[in-house]
């Protein structure tokens, strides 16, 4: 396809326009209940952002990492301290700096990736998860010596205007997510992303082709942690509205891993699909439990069933479609297209030859 604006094709611009119209115009006009914003849309955007971070390191660079929640915690608490101690920075400035602080942790704990891979790397990244949470928990300074353990997040103020209603917070999350998603897409398509994928597909081959492993891997970890850090800050400030290290435990890391894999490794839209699925599925299951069985099933049983289904899905996707839901969606579109074209135009129109 011919690029019509910089390196974007017509299809990209249409997709962007549709997403923007949907999220900026249609959702705010039709969805009025606060529940949708506070419990679904805001966490969805935050977790999708964190999942993009996980995608960068795992889906694009092929490094098994399991510490996304740790970096999110680093970002969230950095944000809290920056707003508290350096108020001149403002919300946006603090958000960027807290992302950078998380990125510093990412570089530190990404260094083992130079020597090890696979499960070995996973253990090394687990260290970051446990270490960061422990550090925040044990040193009172990070929590401003608050003894209760749960700190209320400060209000979001941008350019002197407060953003405290659910709708306003949704727009904050939306703006940040949109900008970072576009950036991620650019990186993935540009030389940065090509290097990542070369390392993923065969690191030794990539190295002999002149791709610096040190640069590429550390870069991927840093950018991934930056995304997770920003996502963590948004997660704490817009969704939880409080800061506690427990919220960022290993379970959240696993959740993000699941979002990443079920959504589709190595795709940006997979991050959004995966996050939506993992977030909405329990809601759906609870609704079924309440409405169909009228609460006859215990809540703990429902959450156990949810876990079993996530696990089963993971296995099923690994066996039948390791590229996840994004690939299923792609296949669906492809088959629709071929059905439409074969009914109208004679001959098979293969997407490969399309210019």
């Amino acid at each position: 396809m011919k690029p019509i604006f910089m390196t974007y094709t017509k299809k990209d611009l249409i997709n962007l326009a549709v997403c923007m119209v949907l999220s900026v115009l249609i959702i705010p006009t039709f969805i009025k209940t606060e529940y949708w914003y506070t419990s679904i849309l805001i966490p969805w955007l935050c977790l999708a952002l964190a999942t993009i971070g996980q995608q960068i390191v795992m889906g694009y660079t092929g490094q098994l990492a399991l510490g996304a929640a740790g970096f999110m915690a680093a970002g969230a608490f950095a944000m809290f301290n920056l707003i508290l101690r350096v108020p001149d920075l403002g919300f946006v400035g603090s958000l960027i700096v807290s992302g950078l602080i998380a990125a510093a942790f990412g570089i530190l704990f990404g260094l083992p990736s130079l020597k090890v891979r696979g499960i070995y790397l996973m253990v090394a990244t687990l260290a970051s998860q446990f270490f960061i949470i422990w550090m925040i928990d044990k040193f009172g300074w990070f929590k401003n010596y608050d003894s209760s353990g749960i700190i209320t997040a400060q209000d979001i103020v941008i350019l002197g205007k407060p953003f405290t209603t659910p709708l306003a917070m949704y727009f904050v999350c939306l703006a940040v997510t949109t900008i970072l998603t576009l950036l991620a897409m650019n990186m993935a398509r540009g030389s940065t992303g090509r290097n990542w994928m070369a390392v993923r597909d065969m690191d030794i081959a990539a190295e002999s082709m002149g791709v610096s492993l040190l640069r590429t891997k550390v870069q991927a970890f840093a950018i991934s942690a930056f995304y997770c850090g920003v996502a963590g800050a948004l997660f704490a400030f817009c969704y939880l509205k409080s800061l506690e290290p427990v919220a960022f435990d290993i379970k959240l890391s696993f959740k993000i891993l699941f979002m990443c894999i079920l959504g589709g490794l190595g795709t940006i839209n997979g991050a959004f699909i995966g996050a939506a699925f993992i977030l909405l599925f329990p809601v759906l299951l609870n609704a079924i439990g309440n409405n169909v069985f009228h609460g006859a099933i215990d809540a703990t049983i429902i959450s156990s069933i949810e876990q079993v289904i996530f696990g089963l899905l993971m296995i099923i996707f690994m066996i039948y479609e390791p590229l996840g839901m994004a690939k299923l969606w792609e296949n669906l579109k492809q088959s629709m297209k071929s059905k439409l074209s074969s009914s109208g135009i004679k001959g098979v129109k293969s997407p490969v030859f399309k210019k």
């Binding site: 422990w134 876990q307 296995i315």
Partner: protein
């Protein structure tokens, strides 16, 4: 001075014995890794699943101890069979990372099933062995060492010797080693791959059950066992993924270092460094000896 030395010894021995608990979990990982080069992330979930079923059989159905143990072991064989059939066989030609992801999924399934079947509350498991210092040792050597720790150490030793003999001297062991070396070549000379896999997964299940009993008797049978089992990962990195003695030595090192750090350095940082110290130790090991103490050197080619 003598007292300080005695205290150090007590910390060290306590750490070493607690380390054998990690070794027991790590042993299950090694068994599967040795035979199929698959990293079974669900080993921790298997520990939780098996011991919860064991407790459930005893406490909910009032089945006697030995029978419940046999039933739980049989259940683990069934789990092994299902895993082989439904997860591993379809993934036979998939990459290592894909299989690893699938075992993470398997872990989720087992955790969920266990909780759906037996509930989420913490269960007490009484093995008839107290978690208190043995009087004889306390009197004669002036060391306070828990009876449960000693039992765990003995059980670990027996299992190691048993598995070592199995791998070294039996025909099954030879088959296992052949499969581990090259599954394709092994199956082409007539080693039944399916049976070997089933055997290994069942053995890992039973090892998980034993490890679960030890952990359960100490900390109660609860979901936290899964997180505890994660600590077997640094153990494996230090000992090497494919070595049974490595699992033991790695466990001992982790146990001892973790306790010593916690007692002597922990107080300066507000304690609870046990949570991450093993992982950081594992990172240092990775930097200097990525294949672990006893592991085989990994050679990668383009």
């Amino acid at each position: 001075m003598a007292n300080e030395l005695l205290f150090f010894m007590e910390v060290l021995v306590g750490g070493l014995l607690a380390g054998t608990m990690y070794s027991l979990v790590a042993l299950g990982f090694v068994l599967i890794f040795k035979a199929s080069a698959t990293f079974n992330f669900s080993q921790g979930a298997m520990v939780f699943f098996s011991v919860l079923a064991f407790c459930g059989f005893m406490q909910d159905f009032n089945i006697p101890f030995v029978l419940a143990f046999i039933l739980a072991a049989f259940l683990m064989v069934v789990v092994g069979l299902c895993t082989e059939r439904l997860v591993l066989r379809p993934l036979m030609n998939a990459s290592e990372d894909t299989v690893l992801m699938a075992t993470i999924g398997l872990g989720y399934v087992l955790e969920g099933l266990a909780q759906a079947a037996w509930g989420v509350e913490v269960r007490r498991l009484d093995l008839g062995i107290g978690d208190f210092p043995v009087p004889w040792i306390a009197d004669n050597l002036k060391l306070f060492i828990s009876a449960l720790d000693i039992t765990a150490g003995l059980v670990a030793a027996i299992m190691i010797i048993g598995l070592f003999l199995l791998f070294k001297y039996t025909k099954i062991g030879l088959g296992l080693r052949a499969v581990a070396d090259d599954a394709g070549a092994a199956s082409s000379i007539g080693i039944p791959l399916k049976h070997i896999m089933l055997l290994v997964w069942s053995a890992a299940g039973v090892v998980a059950l034993v490890a679960g009993c030890m952990w359960g008797a100490r900390a109660g049978v609860q979901f936290a066992l899964v997180d505890l089992a994660l600590k077997a990962l640094p153990v494996l990195i230090i000992g090497g993924f494919s070595s049974i003695p490595g699992a033991i030595i790695g466990g001992l090192i982790i146990g001892a270092v973790e306790k010593i750090l916690e007692v002597y350095i922990g107080p300066f940082f507000g304690g609870a460094i046990e949570g991450w110290a093993p992982y950081v130790l594992a990172i240092f090991f990775l930097l200097y000896r990525p294949e672990g103490l006893f592991g085989e050197k990994i050679i990668r080619r383009v």
